[in-house]
Amino acid sequence: MDSLLRDLKFSARSLLKRPALTLIAIVTLAIGIGANSAIFSTINALLLKPLPFPDPEHIVAIWEKVPSRGVVRNEVALANYLDWKTQNGTLDQVGLIRWWSTNLTGADSPERVQGFLVTANFLEIAGVKPMLGRGFSPEQNQPGQDAVALLTYNLWQRRFGADPNIVEKTILTNGITRTVIGVMPPEFNYPKGAEIYAPIAMTPELARSRDSHSYWGIGRLKPGVSLPAAQADLDQIAGRLEQQFPDTNTGRGVVIYPVLEDTVRMYSTALWVMMAAVGFVLLIGCANVANLMLARATGRQREIALRAALGASRFRIIRQLLTESVLLGMAGGVLGVLIAYWGVDAIRTGNPGEAARYAPGWSHLGINFPVLAFTLLISVLSGLLFGLAPAWQLSKPDLSSSLKEGGRQATSSSRRLRGLLVVSEVALSLMLLVSAGLMLRSFLRLVGTDPGFNADSLLTMNLILPGAKYKEEPQRGAFYSELVSRVSAMPGVESAAAVNYLPLGGSNSSDAFLVEGIPEPPHGQDFIGRYRVCTPDYFRTMGIPVLKGRGFTDQDRAGAPPVIIVNETLARKYWRNQDAVGKRMRFTGPIDRSPWIQVVGVVKDVKHELNLPVTEEYYLPHAQDSWGAMVVVAKTRVEPVTLAAAIRQEVAAIDKDQPVFDVRTMREVRAISLALYSFSSVMLTIFGGVALLLAAIGIYGVMFYAVTQRTQEIGIRMALGARAMDVVKLVVKNGMSLALIGVAVGLAGAYALTRLLASLLVDVTPTDAVTFSIVTALLLLIALVACYLPARRATKVDPLVALRYE
């Protein structure tokens, strides 16, 4: 213990004796460690334990699947759920959740809150009990008995002032009076964003429905049952249902995923890629510090030889040197924590893709105990990593020569080691830069993608008309018709419209249809199209060109002949080489309920996800299919956001209890839809840039040191006739041969590694030759500059001075 303390004291003194070198090493390590801690903090919060369940490993997400259409997660039909529930033998509980947006009205101003309709066993599956009151009882899933609600802790605090007597009080949601039966504990808001829960009212019609897919399944595995066993059990049930209900269930299966994997699937790959990227940055940083230590080791040969001559064992020498490097690593860790604080703050402020709203665990993002423990661990590991090679080198001194010559010459093995470090740095940088390059190219492709509409000067806002108040279609039609005409008449507004799902908005609805003149498809191979409902001026407002026929007009009202507009893709698929206008299609089902609808126009394709190909899409006039949840869009002549308050007033003028939410410009909607790509590419580019800088410093440092070591040799060469260019060539060739080996290793590594990025890439293959070439050229150019600078210095060697060592 005493000797360890002495080692520590000596290490601190030794580091302080060379403040510049120590500072460079600490800053280099701090950048790597800080970046790792910041990203680990995100991983820890969002991927490792984001869910508010005591035992998430027993909980599964359950989806339907349609393999023939490549659909691996489809919402669940209620009748199918009921069969799974009664027939399975592997799940303790099976439940359902449905997205529910509700308007909370009453004494305060109307407010749209995010809710979820659930089966009564939802809390049992979650393994959580309400903090106040009780959970739902099974009978509350029956129509007429469902007028109850559970509040989340946040909503209880925010809207109800943490009223301790809230239980049994009533609230007004979407115009329906519900009794509050409980308040959930703090932190419980699954699915993320939940503020209120209500029971699903299972009407007999719903309970029979196998073609309305609106629910997410959730279940709890029986003790000792594995995921594959449960999957096999459900597969059997799905197989039976296919045979029993071929009309609706042909080609439909069921699939289960661990709930954690299912919840974080959108961003887990991106975050693990970030973690790998910062890992690379730290490794490059460690290689740089190891190089510094090796350079310093050359100057310490005499000191170490002296220690050995005085009786120090090799173990003692290595321990002394490793104590120094671990101390240095921990100093880097302390500064790294500060960098991580800043990094986490930047991530939190950036809130990419509204992660704060949608990503469970976001509130835990910060520098907490697990992050500090991780930082300590990587600080010590870094210290050992970069300290080991120099310590090993130094611990076997050639006593006589080291003591005689004063220990100034680098040994050939330390030169080899330094070369190896440079090769590793270049290889790691190349892998990181190629990854960053691929992500950046993907992102630029997406940004450059024509979405099919004009996002300039568009303001959007969401409304959900409560079903209880706006029961009838004409009421909903009239509301939006009046709102759109009021907004259109506002000064600064060029045109206005409403649509059920905004392009790039992330929500979607599809339905199966039939085409006149084309035989009805077999079960499981339905004609599917995206279901859009809009008001007449929608295409003009969004700048979507009507290619053939016409757009909707006020004449397309309820009771008028039903009309439909299709996109180019749908028209091309079903009426190739024909004019789609005038043709007819209808939704599946009995013809008396789904009559033929005439196509009156063909519009340009619109992207609803920039990273996916356009699919078949059709539009119905809102007056003939009046949805309650719509997005109002206004094309403005002024800065769009300046009109938000005025439009809210127009809404309130029609219905003072009607809240408006998610007010955004179309550019913001587009930015949010690209958030995963922009965040990943920006972060990877930053890490790639840091890696490149560190690698350049590494190459420069090694070449600079090599030139210093070879001063005499260069002097001799100049005395023998070498010109400045010969000396430059000598140094550059030496450095570039290391860089080229690094590039070769890096290219092989990148070729293998970038496959892991495949799911994040759009229109770019993981082995994209352009990216590989550009990055290789860039890295070699930087390496060339990093070699050239010391080479230039080498040309300044005065042979007379170099030879004067004689």
């Binding site: 001799i716 060469r717 100049m718 005395a719 023998l720 006739g721 010109r723 007379l800 030879l803 004689e806």
Partner: protein, 221 residues
């Protein structure tokens, strides 16, 4: 061949100036074997490096074959040196990580001699110095005398007209030194001009002219 006129070399230390060479006038004819002698610090090596055009900062006039070296820029001086001068060092200064063959090849590579010609010239030189058997050895595998022999071979490989040698036997024992001096004598007999710096009267006796320096002045020629 060489005419030095009023060559001076000095170092400034603040306001004071220390002269290393003072008004050196020296003519060296083609085929001479000149020994520069004098006590330590007399300026012998400095004079040799000025002759070898390694030293660029001096005053006076230096003519090499009627070319006014003092008017040439460093690049032209280097060209002139590469064409005409070979250098032998006291510490041999062979490159440790290159074989004997590669060490000999080096001056030729700096004179843009093609690879094929380089190989042939180096082979001839190895043969001439009777060190063919050593061509694949590294300097550390040779004795001091053998290393200096390679050093001389390297100095003559590019066929210079004049060889400058800075105490070429300083690191060798007497029998090895004798061999080296005989090699210089032979080269001189074959037509090479030799200028050596030496402390040894015996070595100087191999030449036909002695120039003595003291405190930077030529005191005897």
């Amino acid at each position: 061949m060489i005419r030095l006129s009023k060559i001076e070399k000095s170092f400034s230390h603040g306001v004071t100036k220390t002269y290393v060479l003072r008004r050196i006038d020296l003519d060296i004819q083609e085929g001479e074997f000149v020994s520069i002698m004098g006590p330590s610090g007399a300026g012998k090596s400095t004079l040799l490096h000025i002759l070898g055009m390694h030293d660029q900062s001096w005053g006076g006039e230096y003519h090499f074959d009627d070319v006014a070296v003092h008017t040439l820029n460093p690049k032209k001086r280097a060209d002139l040196r590469n064409r005409n001068i070979g250098f032998v060092f006291q510490s041999y200064h062979l490159l440790d990580d290159q074989t004997v063959f590669e060490n000999l090849e080096l001056p030729l590579s700096y004179r843009d001699v093609s690879k094929k010609d380089r190989q042939s010239i180096v082979c001839d030189t190895l043969d001439r110095f009777q060190i063919v058997g050593k061509k694949d050895l590294f300097p550390s595998q040779l004795s001091g005398g053998q290393q200096q022999l390679v050093g001389i071979a390297r100095a003559v490989v590019a066929n210079p007209r004049i060889i400058l040698a800075d105490e070429p036997t300083g690191n060798l024992h007497s029998s090895q030194g004798k061999e080296i001096m005989e090699m210089f004598k032979r080269l001189n007999n074959e037509g090479s001009t030799i200028v050596q710096v030496t402390h040894s009267e015996a070595n100087a006796a191999y030449g036909n002219r002695i120039v003595r320096l003291e405190d930077g002045w030529v005191v005897k020629d």
